[in-house]
Amino acid sequence: MVTVSVSAAEAELTDDERAGLELVRESGGIHQSDFWKELDVSSRKGSRIVESLVEKELVDREETVYDGHNTYYISPTARDLDFTLLMAGDMLSPFIGEEEVDPNSDAFSQWIMNLAYEE
C-alpha cells in the first residue's frame, strides 16, 4: 500500500477545492446545497469539488434530509480536530487505553486539578 500523506494531497488542490476545504473547516460542517451557494459556484461545480475532496479523504460526506430535500452533509475529517483538548497541562485523558470511563476516578481528579491549576 502506498501511503500518500494528507498534507501532500492538500498541496495539490485547485484554488476552488482549497476554498471549499476552508469553508468546510471554518463552518465545522455544511450542507451541500449551502456549500456551492457560499462558494459562489454552480451546483454542478460544487458537487465536483466535494467529490474531489471526498476522494482525497480531506472531508467526510453523508446523506441527509435538509429543508425537505435529500442532500449531503459535508464535514471536516477527524484529522482536523484539535486533539490538544484531550490534554490538561501535560497529562493526557486518563480514559485512553481504559475500557471503562469512571468520572470519579483518582486519575480523572488529577486531570481536572491540572486543568484548573496548570492551564
Binding site: S5, V6, L81, F83, L86, L92, I96, G97, V101, A116
Partner: protein, 174 residues
C-alpha cells in the same frame, strides 16, 4: 517511514506512548511502509522479540495494526506480516474526545451538587456527609476540616466542555 505528518503531533506521540509504554515506543514511533515481520522489526530496532510482539498486539487491539499469516511450505512455520494502520489514529482520538466529554459532563454534575470539606494538612477532600461523620476533623491527622469552594474546578470544566462541544459539534442542550 510512513505517517510522518501524524507522528509529528505531540498529542499523538503521547497517545501511542500511553498505549504501548516506553518499551514498545520504538516500534510504535517508527512505522515502516508496507508489511514487516516482528523479527525484522526486532532486528532493525535492536529490541527483544517479545517487546516487539507485545507492542504490535497492543496496536492491533486498538485498530492501529493488522496482520496476515503465511505458512512456510517447507518448515510449516507461520510468519506474521504486519501492516501499520495509523490512518485510524484520528478517529480513535475523536472517540476519546467524546468519552472525555461524557466524563466531564457527569463529573461536573457531581461537583455542582455536592459540598466539600478539605484537610489542608493532608490535602484530602471529603463530601459533606463524610466530613460530618468525622465531626469535621481529619481522620488521618485530626486537624479541623475547612469548607472548600470548588468553583475553580467547575469553571475549568465548563470551559473545556464548551471547547469540546464546539469542536465536536455537540448540541449542549440535546
Amino acid at each position: 517511514m510512513a505517517f510522518e505528518d501524524l507522528l509529528e503531533d505531540p498529542v499523538i506521540q503521547k497517545y501511542l506512548h500511553e498505549l504501548v509504554g516506553p518499551k514498545g515506543m520504538p516500534v510504535a514511533a517508527a512505522p515502516p511502509d508496507g508489511e514487516v515481520t516482528d523479527e525484522e522489526l526486532a532486528e532493525e530496532l535492536d529490541l527483544e522479540l517479545n517487546d516487539v510482539r507485545r507492542a504490535l498486539f497492543i496496536l492491533y487491539e486498538n485498530d492501529l495494526a493488522t496482520y496476515r499469516r503465511l505458512r512456510d511450505e517447507d518448515s510449516g512455520w507461520l510468519t506474521y506480516l504486519w501492516t501499520f494502520e495509523y490512518d485510524n489514529i484520528p478517529e480513535n482520538l475523536e472517540e476519546e474526545m467524546y468519552r472525555l466529554h461524557e466524563a466531564l459532563d457527569e463529573r461536573r454534575e457531581y461537583e455542582r451538587n455536592h459540598e466539600f470539606y478539605l484537610c489542608e494538612i493532608c490535602s484530602i477532600r471529603f463530601e459533606f456527609g463524610e466530613a460530618m461523620d468525622f465531626n469535621f476533623e481529619c481522620p488521618e491527622c485530626g486537624s479541623p476540616l475547612e469548607s472548600m469552594d470548588n468553583n475553580r474546578l467547575v469553571d475549568a470544566m465548563d470551559d473545556r466542555l464548551d471547547a469540546l462541544e464546539d469542536e465536536l459539534n455537540i448540541d449542549a442542550d440535546a
